[in-house]
Each structure stands twice: as structure tokens, then as C-alpha cells.
């Protein structure tokens, strides 16, 4: 017997579960299929983000930061500390508790909204039917008026450093490391590499990041990327750019990594643990039956239009499965958009104003265009920069690394981008993102009253600096 639903969502990560909840709120009969099982074999929702991504990594980042602060940074406040120690299992236990709380929360939300939670592997058949293989093996077919594919992504495997789950791990494994590695190698100095590298660096590891690209954080605004690299290097992260890994070998309980640098020379480094985080790929394995009709594009992601509709009418795809930045909130908003479209509303997503954050300390965050992108487009622009070193609040918090950079169009003063490295960068960038949603000019932000003393004031001053009227730093002379 097949059940019929208005909407069947495959995947309950941040894209899928949000789509399911929204669809149910709009009165659609919705089911959400999830194949993830926790260590006890129980089906849990939340996808990568909740289980092995955003949430656990943030938990470890905060724990490790507090440890580092307690050990190294309290002296300047007049606090002396002794015997500060990190109980790794306890740290991991706290992380797991948070994960459980949140994944449980999602099934609670499903119940509250009337979403039918199904556990097993979902596969899209022809004619908008979904084959469900339950975790106990039972197979059934569900009929749907609409299907939303939200199966997310997986870490990319590279043959030169095959993950063995022991000495060579991926990001998932990196969240379960049971003791502080003396020397930690990280292949890939992107968001995940920097975050995970930071965690273990704070806990005492010697961390070396091997990045194949010549530029650090190549897609970020160059000025902010440069400043960030300085800060992370000062923290002890050894970042090697232009370092392409050519092979790994497990030798005597350690990993020997061979890599080539830009000048063509070969190097070897040995690590006690190696994390491979070179990116993620859309997870389409076993998702689509041969005759489902859904097309993939050349990068293996599901091909969709601006409204996340695939080439099959009534089938949508969202989140890491489709084009665009692999960010949880991007997937969530796509989920909301699709649910609303299915319910007959006009819905659209603004892909131009999607903040993105690296949760190191200080945080690195950005929204909108980088200076390089604006320059390449030939648009005239003005830049305003305010360093946290000039912020009273940052000084009081002893957290003065970094700056706020705001870019506005030279003729219309419209804010085109904001890039921040510094304390609470994520929350500060959000303020500018909101302003940008309303077509704010730099002057508008400059005219807004900001509380004092706050970190937000750095945003205010940077906005004023765009047009040469910053108060708390000398304004650059305009040519």
C-alpha cells in the first residue's frame, strides 16, 4: 500500500527539515525521510549540520576557546590560573548532549507541525514516487504530489589521502578525536580546516595546514583574508599555501604526508593525525532511480532553476545538493521558498545577500561582494574600514584583532559588501545584511544611532568611513 502526501522531503538536514516544517505550516500533508542513524542505531534528524557539522564544531570551538583563554589570556585581567586542564571526553560528551538536544528538538518540531517523520533511505522513482527502504530493510513506495530532494553533501575523498577513520580522518572523524594529537596535519585551509585546526591548536596541537591554492581564503575579500592570515599565523597555525599533497603513508603509527610547493620542490611532514577537508560534494548516491528524470549538472549537483525546481515538474532540490554556497542557512531559506511555492505563494530568495562565517576566533564573516568582484565588474566604489583596535568595547574585552570593512557604490552609495574579521563578526555582518536587504546606503547606516560602547559601533564607524566622515579614526584623504 502506498501513502499519498502533498510533499515528501528526502533528507532532514537544515534544508530538508525547514522545508518540511514550512510545508506543514502551510497546510500541506508532509513527510520527511531521514537515513541518518546515531551510534545507537536510532534514526535522528538534523543532517550534517546538527550531527557532524555546524553544531558540533561550534561546541568544540567554544569549549576549546574557553580552555585556551583560561590557560593563556586571563593574566592580563589580573587573574592567575593554575592547573587548567582539558578533559577531552567531557568536552566530547557536552558536544554530544547538545547534538541530542537539537536532533530531539527537530523531531519535536515535526510532531508539533504534523510532519510525518520517516526513517530510512529515500529514492526518487519515476512519476514522483519515492521508494523508502526503512532501516530494518522493509521497502515501501510513497506517492507524492511534490518531492523535495535535500540529501545534502559528503566530504570529498582524495585518493592521495584516503580516510581510514583512524589516523587519517575527515571532518566527521575530526569531531571525535579522543586525545590531543601532538602534531596535527590539515589538508585544506578553508572554513572547515581553519575551524578544526583552531580547536586542536588551542588544545595544544602543533597544527600545519596544507592548502593547494596560492591564495589564502581565495573567495574572500583580499584585505580581510590577508588580515585573517596574519591573525591565525600569530595564533600558531602554520599555514602553507600552494602546497599540493601528492601522497600519504602511514608509518609507525604516524602519517607521513608528501606535498609539492609552487616552486616544484617536494616536502614531507609527519603528523600524529591528519584531517582531510578539501571540500564537499553533493550527495546523490542512491538518491535517483535511473528513470526518475531528474538531471544532474556537470559538477554532479542536481540541476535547478532560480526557484529550485528540477527539470521534472513537481520535483525540487535544495541545500548542498544544488548550486550555490554550501551553507545551512542558504539551504533553509531555499526550503522555505520551495514550500511556499508548492503552497501557491510567490516566493523568491535573495542569493545576493547571504552571510557566510568562519567560526574561528576572531570570527571571519562576509556578506555581499568582495572588493575584487566589484572592481572586476568595473563599478566605481568607496571603502570604509574601522579597526577593532580603535574600539573601546573591543579594548575592554581584550579582543582587538581585526577590522570591519564596508564597500559602497561610489555614485549611489548603496552598500555592496561587508567583510569583517574580529569579535562577533557573524553578528555584526548580520546587521549589515539586514540593512542591505532594505537597499541601505552607507550613509543610512551612518545615520543610524548605535549603542555605545558596543562592538556594533565598528560597523557604524566603517559606514561613516566610506564617505570620509568617521569620527573615531582619521579618514583617508580622498584623491
Amino acid at each position: 500500500m502506498s501513502d499519498k502526501y502533498d510533499v515528501v522531503v528526502i533528507g532532514s538536514g537544515p534544508a530538508g527539515y525547514v522545508a518540511a516544517i514550512r510545508a506543514a505550516q502551510l497546510g500541506l500533508k508532509t513527510a520527511c525521510i531521514e537515513k541518518w542513524q546515531n551510534s545507537e542505531g536510532k534514526g535522528v534528524n538534523g543532517g550534517t549540520c546538527l550531527n557532524v557539522g555546524c553544531i558540533p564544531s561550534k561546541a568544540l570551538l567554544d569549549s576549546s576557546y574557553k580552555y585556551h583563554e583560561a590557560k593563556e589570556d586571563l593574566g592580563t585581567h589580573g587573574i592567575s590560573t593554575k592547573g587548567v586542564a582539558m578533559d577531552i571526553p567531557a568536552m566530547l560528551e557536552r558536544k554530544n548532549k547538545i547534538i541530542n538536544q537539537l536532533t530531539g528538538g527537530i523531531s519535536g518540531l515535526f510532531k508539533a507541525n504534523g510532519v510525518t517523520a520517516l526513517y530510512g533511505t529515500g529514492k526518487l522513482l519515476a512519476g514522483k514516487k519515492v521508494e523508502l527502504t526503512a532501516n530494518d530493510g522493509a521497502v515501501s513506495v510513497i506517492e507524492a504530489s511534490n518531492v523535495i530532494l535535500a540529501s545534502g553533501s559528503l566530504p570529498i575523498d582524495i585518493p592521495v589521502a584516503k580516510v581510514d577513520g583512524d589516523l587519517i580522518v575527515d571532518s566527521t572523524g575530526a569531531l571525535e578525536i579522543g586525545e590531543v594529537p601532538k602534531r596535527l596535519g590539515v589538508i585544506g585551509a578553508g572554513v572547515i580546516g581553519l575551524e578544526l585546526g583552531s580547536v586542536w591548536n588551542r588544545l595544544g596541537s602543533e597544527v600545519v595546514l596544507l592548502e593547494a591554492m596560492e591564495d589564502f581564503l581565495a573567495i574572500m575579500d583580499k584585505a580581510v583574508a590577508k588580515e585573517s592570515k596574519k591573525i591565525f599565523t600569530k595564533q600558531g597555525l602554520d599555514i602553507r599555501l600552494g602546497a599540493r599533497v601528492t601522497g600519504t603513508e602511514v608509518v609507525k603509527g604516524a602519517v607521513e604526508v608528501t606535498f609539492m610547493t609552487a616552486d616544484g620542490s617536494e616536502h614531507k611532514e609527519t603528523f600524529d593525525k591528519l584531517i582531510v577537508c578539501v571540500g564537499r560534494r553533493a550527495f546523490t548516491d542512491g538518491l535517483l532511480a535511473e528513470d526518475s528524470g531528474v538531471q544532474l549538472d556537470e559538477r554532479g549537483t542536481v540541476f535547478v532553476n532560480d526557484q529550485c525546481a528540477t527539470n521534472v515538474s513537481g520535483v525540487y532540490a535544495i541545500g548542498d545538493l544544488v548550486r550555490g554556497p554550501m551553507l545551512a542557512h542558504k539551504g533553509s531559506e531555499e526550503g522555505v521558498m520551495v514550500a511556499e511555492i508548492i503552497a501557491g505563494h510567490k516566493a523568491q530568495m535573495n542569493y545576493d545577500i547571504v552571510p557566510n562565517v568562519i567560526y574561528t576566533h576572531p570570527e571571519v564573516a562576509s556578506v555581499g561582494q568582495t572588493e575584487e568582484q566589484i572592481k572586476a565588474a568595473g563599478e566605481p566604489y568607496n571603502v570604509g574600514v574601522f579597526p577593532f583596535a580603535a574600539s573601546g568595547r573591543a579594548m575592554a574585552a581584550n579582543d582587538t584583532d581585526g577590522m570591519v570593512k564596508i564597500i559602497a557604490h561610489a555614485d549611489t552609495d548603496r552598500i555592496l559588501g561587508c567583510h569583517i574579521v574580529g569579535p562577533s563578526a557573524a553578528d555584526l555582518v548580520q546587521q549589515v545584511a539586514i540593512a542591505m536587504e532594505f537597499g541601505s546606503s552607507a550613509e543610512d547606516l551612518g545615520m543610524t544611532v548605535f549603542g555605545h560602547p558596543t562592538l556594533s559601533e565598528a560597523v557604524h564607524e566603517a559606514a561613516l568611513a566610506v564617505n570620509g566622515s568617521a569620527i573615531h579614526i582619521a579618514n583617508r584623504k580622498r584623491r
Binding site: 557604490h409 555614485d411 549611489t412 552609495d413 548603496r414 536587504e437 532594505f438 537597499g439 541601505s440 546606503s441 550613509e443 543610512d444 551612518g446 545615520m447 543610524t448
Partner: protein
Amino acid sequence: MAIEIKAPTFPESVQEGTVATWHKNVGDSVTRDELIVDIETDKVVLEVVAPATGTLTEVLKGEDDLVQSNEVIARIEEGEATQPAAAPAAKKPEPDVQVADALVNPAAKKLADERGIDLSQVTGTGKGGRITKEDVVNFTPAAAPAPATSAAPAAASAVEDAMPAGERVERRVAMTRMRSRIAERLLDVTQTTASLTTFNEVDMSALMGLRKQYQDEFTKTHNGTRLGFMGFFVKAAVEALKRFPLVNASIDGSDIVYHGFQDIGVAVSTDRGLVVPVLRNAENMSIATVENSIGEYAGKAREGKLSIEEMTGGTFTITNGGVYGSLLSTPIINPPQTAILGMHTIQQRPVAVNGQVEIRPMMYLALSYDHRLIDGKEAVQFLVAIKQLIEDPAKILLEI
């Protein structure tokens, strides 16, 4: 001694007028020849000045009241000029920019205030229709008629108040007398004439070349009068009207009245509406005289000082939407005339000249005509004649 202030003598065709604006209140002192009140008729605003110095003691007609020709409307007690009165009656305060602030970004409002931009004219491109600073920066006002220097702001300025942007509000304003009359006449024209429009285009390069060549000499010789296009168009029209007398004629009942003269009306836009002062016997006017007269009329029209005589009659009208950017239009006939020529904007366009593509400054011409009197053939040939005369101005001179 009490002196009566009377409404002026209205011309025969005007039955009654309306009191438009009182510039003085009861008790105000007035000096001789000082403006007391404006009376509006179908076509013009007539100013009534104080015949003597004294105090305004009685006002017998309020604003919007009807007055007959020569009717007594106020009284003055002659005497010494007393202290100047308080602010003139019914002076409207500066209209606030009534745009819902919630839909205008702060910097946008600031910039608009600084630049004197009326936010109700600006299209908001921000979220929910908000006007952003970018919108104000990019705003270019539509080509507007010359600023009004009319002495009667009150009734007309009500229309200038900004409508709140983005709200579905309505405001009801009574039509001014002049506007009602215009509305009536235009409706009448469309209902009683068989109006059609024929089009053509004219290559303005010869005329523009001529103007460029002789502008300085012309201006010097004719005491500062500048050489425009209207002088040529009027002369061309006159020449064409001579060849096609039907286009210069009017219908009166069941008679056709052929005029042995060409009185060319030239349409002028004012903020009270369109008025058409007439160049009498244009066939006898030199180009300099035409240019001069048009300039004078335009000035008077904007100040509301055109007399009835200056606006009646006319055997043919020329209107120019080109100054506002109009590319092509179908002008409406000015009764009892039977045709009207519409000039438009000059646009550089690729055209075929002797088998080659060249960029020429082209202007579309439109001739609306009353088919009851003028047949298609006449209308088309008339317009072709104008085209040929303009494209080769020597033909005007040589009458060929």
C-alpha cells in the same frame, strides 16, 4: 470717499468669471495700482488693481463666487496708506513633502531635501517599494514646463501637494474653471469632428545647418532675437496653407469659410493648461517677427497675462511636443479650425539617402485634420509640402 471695485469688462465671448484669489483682506490698506484680486474666466486670469490708495472696506464676492462683467465686487475707502496689512489672503503654506516616512530610507530623504526633489516623483526600488538613496541619486525629473510665476498660487497649487508614496489614498479637487472649460472643448472636438491624423517625417539637417550658419548674424541684426525652428515652420505652414486653402478653412454650420489670411496659433504649455496665442496675418510676418512674437506670447502665457483677443481666431495651429521629448503623437484639432500640425523631437536616426545609410536628424510630423472638410489626399499632400519646404528652406523663399 468710497470707491467701488468692479470686475473688468469681459470680452463678448465670455459670459462670466469666477473670483480666483483675493490678495487683500477687509481692513487691509491698498495703494493705487496694487493687485487686489484675480478673476478667472474661461481662458485668462484677469487682474484687478486698486484704483486709488486707501483701505479695503468691503468684499462682496468670495473666492470661487461667480461674477458678471462689471459687477461690483468690493469697496475701498480712499485715504492715507496705513500700515501694511498682514500676509495676503489665502496664501497656502509650503506644502510639506507628504511621503510616508516609513517608505523612504533616511539618507534618501536627506538627499531629496537637499536637492529639492519631490519624493512623490521618485520610484522606490527598495524592499516593499522603499525609496533608497540610490533612487534619489539616479532621479532625473521629467522635462517640466517653465516654472510658473503666476500671481495666483492658491487654487492651482493644491494639485502640487505630494501624494503619499505607496499608499492607496485619494484626494478630490474641484476642476478649475479653466480646466473644466478645456475639458469641455476637447470633448466637443472629439465628438463633433471626424478627426484623423496623417504622419510624415522631415530631415532637419538643412534647417539646422541654416540656423547654425546664420544664428549669430540673425541675433545681432534682430536685436537679440534668436533664430529658432518655429519661424521656419510658421512660414512653411503659411506657404502650404496658401496652396491648400481647405486646410486653412473652417466649418460654420453647413458652410465652409475660406480665410484669405493665415492666422497661425502656436500652442504654449503653462501650468494652468494649454493656451494657443495667435500670430495674426503670419503671411506678412518676417521670420524675426514670428520668433519675437512667439517669445512674447510664451512669456505672457506663463504669467497668465494673455488677453482674450490674443487667443481667439486662428486659422491653423502648430503644436510642438518635441520640447518634452515626444517622438510621435496625434494632436487634437483646435476648433473651429480644421487642422493642426504637430512637431516632435528631433532624433538622430539611420535613414536611406541615395541608397546609402546615413545618420540624419529626423523629426516626425503629424497633421490631424477634420475629414468632414479635408480629404486624405489634401491632408497628405499638405504635409508633404511642409516636409519639402523644411527640407529645402529655399523653397519657402521662392514659393515653390
